[in-house]
Amino acid sequence: MAAIAGHAGIGEAHEPYSGIWSWISTVDHKKIGIMYGVAAFCFFLLGGVEALLVRIQLASPNESFLSPDQYNAIFTMHGTTMIFLVVMPLGVAFMNLLLPLMIGARDVAFPRLNAFSFWVFLLGGIFLNISFFTGGNIFNGHLGAPDTGWYGYAPLTESAFSRGDGVDYWMLGIQILGIASLAGGFNFIVTILNMRAPGMSLFRMPVFVWMSLVTSFLLIFAMPVLSVALFQLTFDRLFNANFFNVSAGGQPLLWQHMFWIFGHPEVYILILPAMGIVSEVLPTFSRKPLFGYPFVVFSGIAIGFMSWGVWAHHMFTTGLGAAANSAFGISTILISVPTGVKIFNWLATMWGGKLQMKTPLYFAIGFIAMFTIGGLTGVTHSAVPSDYQQNDTYYIVAHFHQVLFGGALFGIFAGIYYWFPKFTGKMLNDTLGKWNFWVMLIGFNLTFQPMMVLGIMGMPRRIQTYPDGMGWDFWNALATIGAFIIATSVLIFIWNVIHSLRNGEVAGADPWDARTLEWSIPSPPPEHNFDVIPVVHSLDDWWHKKYVEDARGNPVRVPAGAAVATGNGHEGGHEHHAIHMPNPSFFPLVAAIGFPIVAFGLIYSYAIIPIGVIVFVTGAFGWALEPASGD
């Protein structure tokens, strides 16, 4: 039975399933990456609509578009969705698509674990959003969704204060999503450390791979802490434990510590992949190597370590005391140093380069500019007395959107425009892309710069409405207009994708004349990625196979054909028979389905729990016992 798929050689159809089943059963990192990206983008639209609802409610004083209850549910789901269901999985989508290609591997280390990770993520995200329907009739505006903020501060989340099922969905949904993140983190670290092509030493790896490695380590160390905090909340809510029960001596502050010990590394989990993307885009479009590669890499590693020592800057106003506040204030100032190093390296990469003004470069430059503003506003929070003024105001809201939208999402859009041709074979339209960029940049600044002003004027976060005459009307109206302009830019993007998939220019293997290995193979890449595993001789190996330097250091193209012959050789035909790709499998999906069933059981009836356990165990044992590859 081990020979189901036979000996799949190059060009042979390997997958026994077609159409939708080939996606459901896939263990191919590229398909999983695309599914991650598409699913996360759908959640992005959902989170975006939630943002628009919030902005409509705040557009003018004494507005009653959303009731206070609805408002709380909507802003909570907006934050939770954008963090856990959009920015994290978009980063993971890029890691899936790119890591094996960039290090010269045929897949990730554990292809089925990878599929499992995606299905758990998707089902967890759907589970979380089902909460909307649990508050009675949603069409009458009864939203059952959690309404305690994305940070779920105790004791508000305790059953005494949050009576509906919303918080149950929240804590169990994020618990499920954490499993997906952990599985992904383990898989990517093993892939990066173990699956590199010959010659691909650690310091020849592209910066994106490095940043993914740091991100993965942050994931596997941060998620367990959140997991424990969520378990404690679960025991409190479902089994009457006392972890955050003040009357029994419990300390709600413990939640904040646990949450932010996870939460601050999480911030870097969100931004490091974007930094990696930008570090790939800038050299390609500047036609220069990345300036100070080791500095960028070590800065990323430094950020990874330091991110564990700054969590209490989220808690300056909770009364930790002067010593703790000073220590965390100083560590927060320090962590801006490696970030600053990176920004200067990116600027120096562009300096003197022959800038190719294409859409990916626009977004990358937008990233640097917007992220720098976000970073600088972050430095103002690190001064404790200053933070006392800013805490719980719109200044904080402006700051973290500046880094997470202006930073992470601009970086991700740069990545989408850059790698879309690689995975679809079609170029995204550059003119539409630039419209996309400018509309988004203008909308973004119109939305979030007014929030800075509002914050400094003292407008608190999380308020459903505000009275007339506070001087906040103009800035709020402006922010709402900006939000709709951002929505327009997203529509332009969607149109661009649809249009380009249909009528886009055919990309070819290497449309940007880029530097890393994924561009040495056809677009879209074949299932097995590399016909022959490449041998790597230097950093930016693909570039050096295409170009040599003349006496003055200018790149000179190697005569046509030579690059192909060395980089993507079709000789060595005997090796073709050695390519064995992993078998498709349904078991990761089966195992993943067990989790939401158990979660429903915990909320509604313990009798359902064994069903979920049986489903999971069936999936897990089927997975362990089936042959991994046709051999």
Binding site: M1, A2, R106, D107, A109, F110, P111, R112, L113, L182, G185, F186, N187, I189, V190, L193, N194, M195, R196, P198, M200, I220, F221, A222, M223, P224, V225, S227, V228, A229, F231, Q232, F235, D236, F239, N240, A241, N242, F243, S247, A248, G249, G250, Q251, L254, M258, I261, I533, E575, A578, H580, M581, P582, A624, L625, P627, A628, S629, D631
Partner: protein
């Protein structure tokens, strides 16, 4: 077809680090699990002596009893080592004996825990009673869950071996089993020390 060997067929070459993918995965999982138990143990220590009502640790702990069950768990690590040594020698029969022995010692430990939980519950300690109850049951309960998973895995390897599906080439499976089992043991040493022996006031 073989026991859970998902990766090495995919690779035309040795891994870049020389460490098997599955072994690296296990080490990473254990590193991650350190943070999991770290958070639980920290919570226990932070909440020690903060319970508003009894029963308190000193009212309940039966140190001689728990010492014996701890000793049983430690001995299971010895039999785990012997199981690995046996398969490395190619002695599959002795490997099966030691695997079952390890699983039985694990089950004995779990029975001790079940007895202890019941005793404590009968003397008034519950998740809801006080902070001690919440932190104690959740911490030791998650440890017990880890031991349970370990026992299931041990018995799975044993069953597969009885079916003749575990051969001398599968040393790694037993080695990974051992890594997990020893880790769970070490966590218990920490729990026994900080939770049972250093009871505070």
């Amino acid at each position: 077809m073989e026991y859970a060997g998902p990766t090495h067929e995919l690779q035309p070459m040795e891994t870049s680090t020389g460490v098997d993918n599955r072994k690296l995965l296990m080490w990473l999982f254990l590193a991650s699990d350190c943070l999991f138990f770290g958070a639980l143990i920290s919570t226990y220590l932070l909440y020690r002596d903060r319970s508003v009502v009894g029963p308190f640790p000193k009212d309940l702990y039966d140190i001689p009893f728990t010492s014996v069950s701890s000793f049983i768990l430690l001995m299971s690590s010895v039999s785990m080592v012997l199981a690995l040594a046996a398969i490395q020698r190619g002695d599959l029969r002795r490997m099966r004996v030691w695997l079952v022995c390890t699983a039985m010692l694990g089950i004995l430990f779990l029975s001790g825990q079940a007895y202890e939980f019941t005793e404590f519950y009968n003397k008034g300690l519950s998740l809801h009673q006080n902070l001690f109850g919440s932190t104690f049951f959740v911490l030791t309960g998650f440890h017990g869950a880890h031991v349970t998973v370990g026992v299931i895995l041990l018995l799975s390897i044993w069953v597969r071996s009885m079916q003749g599906k575990v051969t001398q080439n599968d040393t790694l499976s037993v080695e990974l089993m051992g890594l997990y089992w020893h880790f769970v043991d070490i966590v218990w040493i920490i729990i026994f020390t900080f939770v049972y022996l250093l009871t505070g006031k």
